[in-house]
């Protein structure tokens, strides 16, 4: 096995019909929705950035406190504070043209109809190459059960959205289930072009001085390196269950972390919380994946996908 020159390695990946210039995506919630990209960091190092989720109606979000640093993680319950689709289209969407990389629009909803409506209005916005569905929200039509906790609900959302949009659709799955495989399969059968996982892991903390929950919302989602092994396993198992591309995420801070996900079967990786610690993390991870391919004598990063996973069900590239 000879090490290849870095320039000869193909760093690209595909999500459905959309090609990304590299494997590294900014996860939803860490770069707002448009107007403020690029002020702190150069987002062009990313293969794509995912917008903060947009809902049909404006949302004030949860009360305070909303965040608490946890061991190797961040516990948060923001509550989807956001402008709603109308305000987003009028004020944020025009700025998407200025973003120096591909954009993935993230949609959150509390009913199947809301997902379909918002996704349809995101389809065709400048630079937007895919639509991610934050199906970890509670479903008001099913007594507040999380969409992504149930294969049928997940499939309902994907099917309704696919009927309304032309862009590739990504279903973002939750780790807060006994088995992620049937849910991944349901998303695939309903027509999802890719799945992304994992969303935050549910958790809480108690303020012992005040004898009360720390977060105003009581429970929150844990992100950061603390959840990485949970995420790697979810990607590993999902990669054995579906053929569509998987975007792996959960606690990635370094190239080595990202490589774990790729070897488990992820065709792209997303970085969330680590952006807050290291604004240059995207370039670092993208370069490290190219180096990993070069060290193994491979001509593309894609050739690494699933190579540690003997039951990898996706498409292998050589």
């Amino acid at each position: 096995m000879t090490e290849l020159a870095r320039e000869r390695i193909d760093p690209t990946t595909r999500i459905g019909k959309s090609e990304l210039k590299n494997f590294v995506i900014a996860a939803s919630g860490c770069y707002n929705r448009g107007a403020e990209f690029g002020r702190v960091t150069d987002v062009s190092a990313y293969g794509a950035i995912t917008l903060k989720s947009v809902t049909l109606q404006p949302r004030l979000g949860n009360g305070m406190p909303r965040v608490l640093p946890a061991p190797a993680g961040l516990l948060n319950a923001i509550g989807l504070q956001g402008p709603g689709i109308e305000h987003f289209l009028a004020h944020d969407a025009p700025h998407l043209r200025e973003v120096q990389t591909a954009v993935i629009a993230s949609v959150a909803g509390f009913s199947v109809a809301e997902f379909a409506e918002v996704a349809a209005r995101m389809d065709g916005l400048p630079n937007v190459v895919a639509i991610e569905l934050d199906v970890s929200c509670p479903n008001v039509d099913r007594e507040g059960e999380c969409f992504a906790a149930n294969p049928e609900s997940t499939a309902d959302v994907v099917r309704a959205v696919k009927a309304r949009v032309r862009l590739p659709v990504i279903a973002k799955l939750t780790p807060n289930v006994t088995d992620v495989k049937p849910i991944a399969r349901a998303a695939e059968s309903a027509g999802a072009d890719a799945i992304s996982l994992i969303n935050a892991v549910r958790g809480m903390a108690i303020d012992v001085a005040r004898s009360q929950p720390w977060l105003a919302n009581v429970s929150g989602g844990l992100t950061g390196p603390a959840i990485r092994p949970i995420a790697v396993l979810a990607v590993w198992e999902a990669a054995q269950a579906v053929r569509i591309p998987i975007i792996g995420m959960g606690g990635i801070e370094t190239g080595r972390d990202a490589l774990e996900f790729v070897l488990a079967g992820a065709s792209a990786v997303a970085i969330g919380t680590a952006n807050f610690r290291n604004p240059d993390v995207a370039a670092l991870v993208a370069d490290a994946l190219v180096d990993a391919a070069a060290e193994r004598g491979l001509t593309s990063v894609r050739a690494l996908v699933g190579s540690a996973n003997p039951s990898f069900a996706g498409e292998r590239s050589h």
């Binding site: 305070m64 923001i78 807050f276």
Partner: protein, 263 residues
Amino acid sequence: MITRRECVAPGFWCVGFRAPRIAGAVRAAQYVAIDQPGRFAVRLPLGIWTAEGDEITVLFREWGERTAQLAHSDIGTAVDLIGPLGNDFTIPARGARATIVAGGLGVVPFWLLGKRLLAADVQTRVVLGARTAALLVGAAELRALGLNVELCTDDGTAGTRGSVLDALDSEPPADIVYGCGPPNMLRALSKRCVAANMPCEISMEETFGCSMGTCWGCVVPVRRGAKQGSGYPKAHAESRDFDYSRVCFDGTVYAAADLVWSA
């Protein structure tokens, strides 16, 4: 790089960093986001206390794991800082009268502000309070700048017995009031200044997540239409009629008249 570290009161630490660019650019109420080695997922944000030459200092209470690690770091340790971050206070015209009201560690933004006000020929009065004498920090440094500092403590162990707000009654109103400290003190100060139609600016504190304005974890309620608010429309089914503003990115300084305390 950490240049010094000193325990200034029980549990209170002053840590210095060599940071020439930040020291040259910093304004009052700004902060740095500190990357720490080890099992921390986000940076530790701390308000900048002093800035002289190539050095800045932060003054903080040892409270959790992150502050404990910083308090006990070795001098010479390399540290990655992002900053200065956040907005700053309004400086009034030459000859104006300003009152600074600080509770406990709320003194942090006022070394830089005091210095700036003195340079701008603003007549500045500082009222610094704490629960007890042992928790009064920063007075000596403010006095060393040439500021007139009045002390008060809840238990009377230093200065006047009573709250910083009582001290406001003893003098004619100022052209502008600056406040930083515990939430109850800020709520009372804010309401009082708004009722008296006195300009007042407050530096707010919340637990930050990202320290860069993107996670929306550190919001404070502001009146709808405030320029530091999100500007998002009101939700149809929403009974709460205020907006949220990000302390880390839109603040930390707010006009008292924009803050909503009943939320």
